[in-house]
Amino acid sequence: MRIGVLALQGDVAEHRRALADLGVDSAPVRRPAELSQLDGIVIPGGESTTMSMLLASSGLLEPLGKEIAAGLPAFGTCAGMILLGSSVIGGRSDQICYGAIDIGVRRNGYGRQLASFECELDVAAIGSDPLHAVFIRAPLVESAGDAVEVLAVVDPSTETPDDPGDSGVGGLTDVGVATPVLCRQDSVLVAAFHPELTADRRVHRLFVSMIEKRGR
């Protein structure tokens, strides 16, 4: 199995390390020719506006879109979630969304860096142990279509603490509304957090198992 990691910008090395930990070969993807012979593609964390511009300038925009539309399994974290979603709110009008998973995403929906956080998630799809998740200026899933399987939500009873109320730092999450943070639709997996930044490899293993099941 060989998984490409979109390497235009962002935490590419962490994703490649996570895949290596699982014994999976990975390859950086910066040019259209590097899309061939991949069993899956990872779109890492980073800045989605920057990646959008570089997707266009590198000539990858259309070929990558065609591969994903044709069923190439895709895993996006943070910026990657925005790029794979169906619409982006609070982003730039020229941002790319591949529409590979039916979610509407608000860019930086949890707030600025001061509101970035770590927490434990319950993710039944990967086992009963809680998953430690790191959210960095994370995108907020505002809507998810019927075809979307929500694998984890952030605890609805918690609000990011200690935000100066008058600075606009606080996120837009309403207390009492569970927000999806890990979603799957067909062969597309997206996370609002960064499983590549922690040592727990269960989310990457889930993506690898999605590729394996598809191959059968």
Partner: protein, 318 residues
């Protein structure tokens, strides 16, 4: 941070040996070392551009900047005009925050923790305790552990980098010589930092004490660098980048991202040059692409020979 499976494989020992002040309630922990450093990880492979107002910030975002850095004057103007260089007007910082969706960093003077407090109150995404501004304290840098906003600091060598990390910096950049459009100092600093990291990896346990003395750096951080072969935080390049080829050079030398100051908005066509530097940073190992984006960019910023400078900014801080 004691729960091993939940921490980053690259989370430094600093987080265990240094005080960590963080918010925690209702299951969400904010301002942890992982969260602070995490934003720097997301900026890797990108270009952070100096801007003085919202209009420049929009140009930077349009060009694909991963973040913008708010400051009162770009370094070449600070050099030309002289006087005391300070933190930006908060109104300008807020204008920049409203103008763009990418992270907004801002500079505070070395040791000026009150400026840093103001920037934290404005909820900037990163604070640069910067030698480009006029230092406020000749003896001490800011205690960066006491802030919830992460800090980036400049360094000319490994010892300086590790001292800043021991004070709580979550991102290190070379100092270079800002405002000169001359890459030579940034190259010197990168080579010095990366060269000493390489040397540490082959030193034995006894020699590491000598290294700690020579570097004037905490032994725990020296040991960690020796074990991992890398800094505990990302290493970016700043100071003198003026062309796409400059960005390619420092990325190939081992920088993980670049800061560009005067090099963009003091050039003839800032929008095109900014975009070209972004593309050259991503495709730094592909000379064909660097050549393509370098064509017909118009005049670079006027450069300065290091030997002719009245003020060496890199010498500020210790």
């Amino acid at each position: 941070m004691s729960d091993a499976p939940t921490t980053s494989p690259t989370t430094p020992g600093a987080s265990e040996t240094m005080p960590e002040r963080q918010g925690a309630s209702g299951g969400r922990q904010t301002a942890t070392f992982t969260v602070k450093r995490g934003l720097a990880d997301m900026l890797r492979g990108g270009v952070i551009m100096d801007v003085i107002d919202a209009d420049q910030a929009r140009v930077a975002e349009d060009a694909g900047a991963v973040a913008v850095m708010a400051l009162e004057r770009v370094p070449s103007d600070i050099r030309a005009q002289g006087g005391v260089a300070r933190m930006s007007d908060p109104a300008l910082v807020e204008g920049i925050q409203q103008a763009v969706t990418i992270p907004v960093m801002a500079k505070a003077r070395i040791g000026h923790f009150a400026e840093a407090q103001v920037l934290e109150a404005l909820a900037v995404d990163y604070i640069d305790e910067s030698e480009v501004l006029t230092p406020a304290d000749e003896a001490y840098h800011i205690d960066k552990w006491s802030f919830r906003v992460p800090f980036v600091c400049g360094a000319t060598n490994l010892g300086e980098a590790l001292r800043r990390i021991s004070e709580g910096a979550c991102l290190i950049r070379s100092k270079g010589e800002a405002g000169t459009g001359n890459i030579v100092e940034a190259v010197r600093h990168l080579r010095s930092i990366l060269g000493d990291i390489g040397a540490l990896t082959t030193a034995d346990a006894a020699e590491l004490y000598g290294w700690a003395k020579k570097l004037s750096a905490p032994i725990e951080l020296v040991r960690e660098v020796a074990d991992t072969g890398r800094l505990p935080v990302p290493l970016f390049c700043a100071g003198g980048i003026a062309t796409p080829a400059d960005a390619s050079l420092v990325m190939q030398l081992g920088a993980e991202a670049v800061f560009v100051g005067s090099g963009i908005f003091k050039s003839e066509d800032p929008a095109r040059r900014a975009r070209a530097i972004v593309e050259a940073t991503t495709h730094h190992d592909d000379p064909q692409i660097v050549a393509k984006v370098s064509r017909g960019l118009g005049a670079s910023m006027p450069g300065l020979e290091i030997g002719t400078l009245d003020q060496r900014m890199a010498g500020r801080g210790w």
